[in-house]
Symmetry: C3
Subunit: 678 residues, 3 copies
């Protein structure tokens, strides 16, 4: 893997000079404005295929070279994209196979973007040739720093080429068709396959209820996307460039399993478009924080914020302006969670088509005297002030499981609630509860190593990939605190139900067995009532909704019981010490206050080291650390100014000297790391 590190924060973003080649005065102004706004990085070429190769095989790179040179001469680096995110019309017209077929088996026409078959050999060949030529020309250019492969990979294709690849992929995985039939439970409804050749991808006009097929199809889509990406990376390497590569991920994107990109990209990058001012700011901040941590946890390295909006987006139902100070706060939040950049989409607004009203550093008016331009400049200045924190890492003592394969399987399963299982909400409540203790939190998949975590939240782990129950057992045995919840350990990696009791493989670890699960209508609720002598001293009654599991307790402390319905008095929260650790089991979808109070106690029980003694409402706490220094980021996403007392050893890097933090303000502090610390 190429080593990725910078000596300053990247500030800048997507730039489309090819739309302005006939306006040289605008191109000139742009660079002046970039410097004025402390912009040091631009992303070029993302949708430039039609300009780079206007006719098949005719490459026109001069304009790009001139832009890169001009930027470089002004100290601005280039992230260079491969243009595979949208194809020229001639390519689609001449080689129709490059266009996708949707799940209803309808061939798509040319249009939009991201509408190409990842399997098509022609598409791969054409982009390989172009990428290689780009690498040859720009791969060693001193102004070019990083490859931005394609753009926001996503979607799927059901064309005959993809069907064939899917069959090959299945054959490699299952070896025999009997094995596949067995794992997929195809005897149900007479769906047994006699050969891999008989298999077709899921379709709403065909097979749409064989969950194992659908799960494997989703896995295949991820792997085929990666396979395509590797073709692009190979082209770059063949072109002689050794620069690192990335591709920009999206917010909680269901279409791909990003953890599988871990060893493909040199640095993780993603596009963050939170809907600030829809809910309370602190609420949006928790939601964004989880995504930042999810991205950071993929490689457990600093990541890049590749896109964000300097003003209002234009594609949401309601596109609100960011209030003054919001841009700075959201930008520094990314940094606090581990980003080494603040990049925008877009530097200059396009004049036409679907994104013409998307916020930009420079808008159609074109002046640098706008509110947005000034706030962008403020961000640039702030990033320079905290330059010493660049490249520092995030160490987390606690983690929450949030796995895409589990999400896929859980949502596709026809289960107790088909309207909404509230999976993300359950993950988010536990993440928030840990964050409100002032802790860094890793957001991990089932593939992550668990060493070093003092607390591990495992909410609704419906699917256990092979051996996951053993990983959890070992984790507890060796002293970890596991918080497992309802609807866990029901199916194996092919969505086949475990027999003989659930949570599979962990009934002895938790001391309970799940016997039934009750679904509640949205207007129903139940309660968890504390048992008087529970060892955590929980004293409140909490509401639970949506799902209530019924447990048979064989060997566990019952901390709380249900308060209503025919299962009143039955266990709602249990605990068992196992090996050197603790196994908690939460039986129902509890309200947030429960998790807040539970984790407050568990943090103490598990001896998690707190960064700040008391975290007031609305305050977000993060640390980043080098070998010798720990940087503390404090941000106020509440509506009131509050004091956040910290120990005297800290020194101010950025922000006010006072301990009082105003709304949307940030303080960055540092202290030396003592060698004797645990």
């Amino acid at each position: 893997m190429a080593k990725v590190s910078y000596d300053h924060y990247l500030h800048g973003g997507d730039y489309n000079p090819e739309q302005w080649l006939d306006h040289p005065e605008i191109l000139k102004t742009d660079i002046e404005y970039f410097k004025k706004a402390h912009i040091n990085t631009v992303s070029l070429g993302i949708f430039s295929w039609a300009v780079l190769e206007p006719e098949e095989g005719e490459y026109h790179f001069e304009w790009l070279e001139e832009i890169i040179n001009n930027l470089y001469h002004e100290g601005i680096s280039t992230i260079l994209a491969t243009p595979s995110g949208a194809r020229p019309k001639w390519l689609a017209d001449k080689y129709p196979e490059v266009l996708r077929v949707n799940e209803k088996r309808e061939k798509q026409l040319f249009g939009g973007r991201h509408n190409h078959c990842y399997t098509s050999l022609i598409y791969r060949e054409k982009i390989h040739k172009l990428d290689k030529a780009l690498a040859e020309r720009f791969g060693k250019h001193p102004g070019v720093m990083l490859w931005h492969i394609s753009n926001e990979f996503g979607g799927e294709c059901h064309c005959p080429l993809c069907q064939q690849k899917f069959r090959e992929w299945l054959e490699k995985k299952y070896e025999t068709i009997d094995n596949l039939n067995n794992r997929w439970c195809t005897t149900f409804w007479s769906h047994r396959y006699r050969s891999f050749a008989e298999i077709e991808s899921p379709s709403t006009i065909g097979e749409n209820e064989l969950h194992a097929l659908k799960l494997d199809w989703k896995r295949f889509v991820t792997e085929q996307t990666i396979d395509f990406m590797k073709v692009e990376i190979a082209a770059i390497r063949e072109g002689g460039s050794e620069l690192p590569v990335t591709t920009n991920f999206m917010y909680d994107y269901e279409g791909l399993d990003y953890k599988k990109f871990k060893n493909v990209v040199d640095v993780v990058s993603w596009d963050n478009y939170p809907g600030w001012h829809k809910k309370e700011e602190w609420e949006t901040a928790v939601d964004c924080g989880l995504q930042h941590d999810l991205m950071r946890s993929i490689k457990k390295e600093p990541f890049l914020l590749m896109e964000s909006c300097p003003s209002a987006t234009n594609w949401k139902p309601i596109n609100k302006l960011k209030k003054p100070g919001m841009l700075l706060a959201t930008s520094l939040q990314a940094v606090a969670h581990g980003s080494d950049s603040v990049l925008y989409f877009q530097l200059r607004q396009s004049r036409g088509a679907s994104e013409k009203f998307h916020g930009a550093v420079i808008d159609h008016y074109g002046g640098s005297d706008t509110r947005v331009f000034k706030e962008v400049t403020e961000v640039g200045e702030a990033l320079e002030k905290i330059q010493e924190t660049i490249g520092t890492k995030t160490i987390a003592q606690v983690a929450v499981l949030y796995d895409r394969e589990n999400s896929w399987a859980l949502k596709d399963a026809q289960g107790p609630r088909n309207e909404n299982m509230y999976y993300q909400e359950c993950v988010l409540k536990q993440y928030r509860a840990l964050r409100e203790q002032g802790l860094n939190v890793d957001v991990i998949s089932m593939e992550h190593v668990l060493d070093g975590y003092k607390i591990l939240a495992v909410p609704m782990a419906y699917l256990f990939c092979d051996g996951y129950e053993e990983k959890l057992r070992d984790y507890v045995k060796q002293g970890g605190t596991l918080v497992l919840s309802y609807w866990s350990g029901l199916v194996d990696a092919t969505d086949r139900c475990f027999l003989f009791g659930t949570p599979y493989g962990l009934m002895d670890v938790t001391g309970i067995r799940s016997t039934e699960i009750d679904a509640l209508y949205d207007w129903e609720e139940n309660y968890a009532v504390p048992n008087p002598s529970n060892h955590l001293n929980l004293q409140k009654t909490y509401r639970c909704n949506h799902l209530c599991e019924l447990l048979e307790v064989s060997d566990a402390e019952v901390l709380m019981c249900y308060g209503e319905d025919f299962y009143a008095g039955k266990a709602a929260l249990t605990h068992k010490t196992y090996g050197n650790g603790h196994a908690y089991y939460v039986a129902a979808d509890m309200e947030y206050a429960f998790y807040h109070d539970l984790y407050k106690r568990l943090v103490k029980e598990a001896e998690v080291k707190l960064l700040v003694k008391f975290v007031p409402e609305g305050i977000s706490v993060n640390t980043r650390a080098s070998d010798k220094l720990e940087y503390l980021f404090l941000q106020n996403f509440g509506r009131k100014s509050v004091a956040v007392p910290i120990s005297e050893e800290y020194e101010v890097v950025y922000g006010e000297e006072s301990e009082v933090i105003a709304p949307l303000k940030t303080r960055v502090l540092k202290k030396k790391i003592e060698v004797n610390e645990e």
Copy 2:
């Protein structure tokens, strides 16, 4: 018709041992558990085609024979299914014509179930061959008791073969194209056909507004489904089996006109999946009761409950657990309404695919120590205790019309309200009002004979099949009490409007003519106010909603008038004696209380014999009778224990001695039928 009667209640349900052939220990345990749960009947082979005929023409029946034998040796009978509900992949791949074409003319891919063309000769040939072979092998097996033809027939196909059959069907019906044009009113919008060959089935991308075409298409779908079913029955007979046949119907299914199966099945059976605990239990019970009575009324014979869920379903938006006692109550409700069985889907949960979380007698855990298993056992024991009631019949003195052809036409017509005409609701209110008098109620079609009914409710009979007005006239003339409602008698059997006044043919019987109909927005309401001297002594004012018909009264008593709008003071309820009977006309969509109070009076006026003097809230009353004995079923679907006093001549068959019935509890009593009784 084969004679269907049993000497004990069937208890058991769908069983898919083909999913467990590699787990002989499970197959063994299953039978032990069946006996423990008093299960005496299993349904086999419903989706087994791919296992029965894994390659074209290669039949593998050994496994099935072994299962049937094993069950038989333990005293358990088999309902044997023909496997046409789902086809093997090889059949679809080799003969694509067997797959359906939807109404948009899109060929469906292999997948799901129930996705085959009923017209395809190849499909018919393949299933005929297999069915015949099954009949030859198992048709005389002493353990096999009944044929379960296919599964939940439904859906439609628009392939060229079906188009051709539809044209032939139309030609047979209309003889000349002029006749069809005339009946269908095709001159509207220039849709005249020059020959039957020009006709195509309705389509949202083609003809979708010619109501007569759509109505005939629905009729054709029913007849073609029956035609397909007859091929399967013929195969069974050719295979030498004389066992009775059935097919399982569905809850209020709009896709087929079940009354047309009357002479095709030897016994009616259906699948009941009420959503208990969503509304008040008594409300769900009324709704289920109507469906049971609808099914029973098809043949006016005991029916079979072919499927029901022992626990929670998995396909509803919210799948709630049944609270303790609910399974027993819902099972005995079926019996009270005339079922000779309580059968479940499913005996053992499948491990994979879309129904893996559907409730089952034996779940993935696999023990017999579960709550569900114990409640199933209770049902088995209860059925044995009331064994003497098996095969007894239901005699109803009152009936409600609920006709599928009417429902089709009424809903398709672009009429006063296109959002919702509240047809089912209107039927249900009248059914409930009669049930709350403690009466058995027949739910009948326009084809039923009306002799013997003292009261007949005819709500919203928009379409009159040929001669229906005469049937109603005779009914009243001979002494019946008819309650006809608004939006009745508007169109003939081809959805062509009657001229010269409505309700067609009954203006003299009712003494009124409907002049206009007002549609109300959901937020609007009107009132029906009693006339001081009305002969029924109605004294309350009732709300009406949705639809208010305006009447011209020529020769009728006006019992109630509208209270608001420009038609305040005009008739809302009228009455006329005609011949020896009474004709009531309800002009508006009245609230439930109106029907409750009306039928309380009509029951007295019509001298209907009451089974129980006073029916407390929540209590459901049914009787079943043999030649000599009448069995009274009393069930409490309310939230409180209540006393239901009954005459001393009754003797307890099942349940507590006390007259007080606790929630969800059932009492069964019997008395001798006096020969002198009317």
Copy 3:
């Protein structure tokens, strides 16, 4: 253009005798009833193609001739339709190209109506031949008065023939592909075209986000529809008929740009189906009024109400009866706004198919003793009483811009709010405010000449067609009062953003520049607070919602400021005198009361002449005028009787003598026009 004027109001409507040819007694009764109801005009032949030409080339016109003669002999004129609105089955079967292809490129089947390709040469040839024959036979018949071309033109076709025409149309418009690429901004997402041949119409399975393409496609659809209509008109002229032509337009129809028909039709006609009694009557009346004025303004001549419903419609979600008096009020409203007719759909109800329950003068019952028949008769009588007003014109001193091209572009743009921009609502509020001053209002497009308007409301003029900014500038310079609003002047005629500031070309006229626009969630609101010294003496605070624009004020009076959010204190309403006129700028989506109060002041400031001194709530005021006489129409759409004092010079033409007007009642008065008046 043929001259269109009548000496009496047309009263009657659509009639389909071809559905009753086998019921001669009904055809006879119909004419008797027409006379009884004062019906003097019928529209024939609208969907008669299959009867007129039952086999290709075989024309059967005798029945039509007989009907026309019979009507004529009884003094009833005929509006004769060309039957292209629906085609016979043989035409679709023999020439599939006549059927449409939808935007997903799916060929439609035969069915419904209005489902033919406007480009198809065969369709054009067949209808041309038939139309010409009709013109030859009936074009000089003394009973025929007007050609009704096709019916409710609408919809679009994406077949290869249409694709080809679209490309030719584009080539004619843009000349070179570079020009098109430049105007359409195709460099965005690599969508550059290399030739016109590469272009395809928009599609949800292809290009759906290139706004300029979509806008031009919509324009093409209008022009191709007109091109088709011209073929029909040509046929009529070739057949020797010089009678005027029209085609019936629809309520606020988005599919066509009706202003382009201005010089194609001799008289504008339209079909009005308001949903009376859903909202308050006055509210529905304002909404209808706008549509009448929109239609009248196309040619600035009297128009025809071609269809309206004598009773309840049958195609709305809820189809309410018209309360007594409503039919007369709605009919006279059309006249008050400039209609020279009151025509219904339909004279006699059809027996079958989708419109069988649509209200009619004669219903299925068939008598003339119905409430509806009597109210129709009343309308006929009223029209005779006001006969002297026929042909008089409407003069408006004020106008509101409501342009279809703007509406298309505004709604398609991905902008600040994608849920709803509330464009029509903004137009309607300003229209209503002007109407409630008792004024005639023109509702105009960007193509209209602005001379003579004292006030011009320009709400949300997102798109400026070429030179529109100059037209507005001149208008103000020469003394007009312009009320421009937020979201104006953003894009040119190809939806390409203007650079260097908006509202484009009018920043100096208004003295402001729009810098940002904030979108509000539906639950949010802001306020406009009056500045103490504002010259209009506005004193109230008004709510604003949905959209709040932020202004940089360079040279304008700030009359009101925002009350909340970070832009509290910034301008919400500005004013500048420019040349001899006034330019107002409304920055936010203000509540109705604001417009009411604003226009009350502007009417005074601009010295608009008021027709009535005080307009009570619910009263609608219109005038029509000949050279010498002015007719004042006063209608009460409120719930209470109110007095409307008028000057003594008026004389009553119709209605009560008293100044008090009861709900749903109309008064028509007249006075001489003084030559000295301005």
